[in-house]
Amino acid sequence: MIEVFAPMTQGMIDSLKAGQSVVLSGDVYTARDAAHARIVDMLQKGEPLPFELSGCGIYYAGPCPDMPGRIINSCGPTTSSRMNAYAPLLYDCGVQVVIGKGPVSGEVRNAIVRNGAVYFAAVGGAGALLASCVTAVEDVAFPDLGPEAVRRLTFSRVPLIVAIDRYGSCVYDNR
């Protein structure tokens, strides 16, 4: 099993190949449909963002509400292709790592290659398993969006698969 740490070094990203299983530790920001719409709107208006995109990791996820005794409630990945409209711009702004599930568009794949980034897939629907890999949570932005708010999650050894590597190879092509 390959072990990676976020933020990732370019050398580590360059060494990954589509289809490899990894465990990732480190910080990522949750953001899904509504948060992406806001972030892109703020970028277009030139407004300051609530967190630094350059070098960051984004997790397409909207967890269940916090429950007593747990660091975070169930929080699996959501469908990445719904972020197709936003993802290229975010990669161009420096997003280094994205965690989601399922295939994405050719434009997104091109943006990954152009920026030397990487797209990981988590197992869709494995919300309890993914929550059990979170060791810390911090609210970051857009609390009014409820489950779609941006939060910083610290993962410890979360199991992922390299879905699209920085060279553009895609695990969903190799079937």
Binding site: N73, S74, T78, K101, V123, G127, P159, I161
Partner: protein, 278 residues
């Protein structure tokens, strides 16, 4: 005439969702475990292994199996000799409201245009059937939208026939690819009108996985389609292998001489539902 209180309905709906939102039906979990045994693709095998582990963690912690605890769909079979004290629809909505709040389930329901979240996961989608007898049967079916989004309906022509139906279903699977969180169950409706066809498809998702269709022709179609779909090689989570589809469930209804409606409703591996009779 038998009387059932609105409060009894609220409590029944609440308990159904508190249970269903946490864990898929036993048959789905068993089907995932048997898929794991026959998996041929290494990444898909790892994904299925994680799903088994996910169920174990959900059971141990009380966290929902999947964070998308869905839009609440409720099927009601109301005996014609039952009188409900109070407002039946409101009693059901209140049960949904309480379950999503007390269960720490995600509130995923929003205004389709403004985006404003309703805050309590209501309104539920409620389907009523009036049936003989003095019983009230309620089925809770929380539906995640990763799979719901991939569902399709087509108004085919009679000349399209069985071949056209088959092509439409396989095309729907190719378009959905790995997005609906396979392994999936496919509910298929054939015939009726535009809206009934979609409802037939949805109701087929309630059938236990592994159950055999009472109609022999449909039972054969189900087996053949499942084989054809799995032969596409999309696989669990879109990662290859023979485990895209755990079951195909088909229902038909007579239709107009000018039409041939077909609907495909995708159900992800978190096949969640429960029923109670009052």
């Amino acid at each position: 005439m038998r009387t059932i209180s609105g409060e009894a309905v609220t409590q029944a709906v609440k308990q159904l969702f508190l249970s269903a939102c946490r864990m898929p039906e036993r048959g789905a979990l068993a089907a995932i475990e048997s898929a794991l045994e026959k998996e041929t693709s290494a990444p898909a095998k790892e994904a299925l292994r994680q799903l088994v582990e996910n169920a174990r963690i959900a059971r141990q912690t009380g966290m929902p199996y999947c964070q998308d605890t869905g839009m609440a769909v409720v099927f009601v079979e109301l005996g014609q000799d039952v009188r409900i004290e109070g407002n039946l629809s409101e009693a059901i909505q209140e049960g949904v409201r309480q379950a999503y709040e007390e269960g720490y389930f995600r509130k995923s329901v929003r205004d389709p245009l403004t985006g404003q979240n309703t805050g309590d996961n209501t309104p539920a989608v409620i389907h009523y059937d009036v049936v003989p007898g003095d019983k009230l049967r309620i089925t809770a079916a929380p539906k995640g939208f990763g799979s719901e989004n991939m569902s399709r309906i087509a108004m085919l022509k009679p000349s399209d026939g069985l071949g056209g139906i088959r092509r439409f279903i396989l095309d729907s699977v190719r378009i959905a690819d790995g997005s609906p969180c396979p392994p999936v169950v496919l509910g298929v409706g054939i015939g009726g009108t535009f809206e009934l066809c979609a409802l037939l498809a949805k109701k087929q998702l309630l059938r236990p996985i592994g159950s055999v269709n009472a109609d022999e022709t449909l039972a054969r179609m189900e087996r053949e389609l499942q084989g054809d779909i799995n032969a596409l090689g999309i696989g669990a989570m879109g990662l290859g292998g023979p485990n895209y589809c755990l079951a195909v469930h088909i229902a038909k209804y007579p239709t107009h001489i000018a039409g041939l409606p077909v609907a495909v409703n995708f159900q992800c591996h978190a096949a969640r539902h429960g029923s109670v009779t009052l």
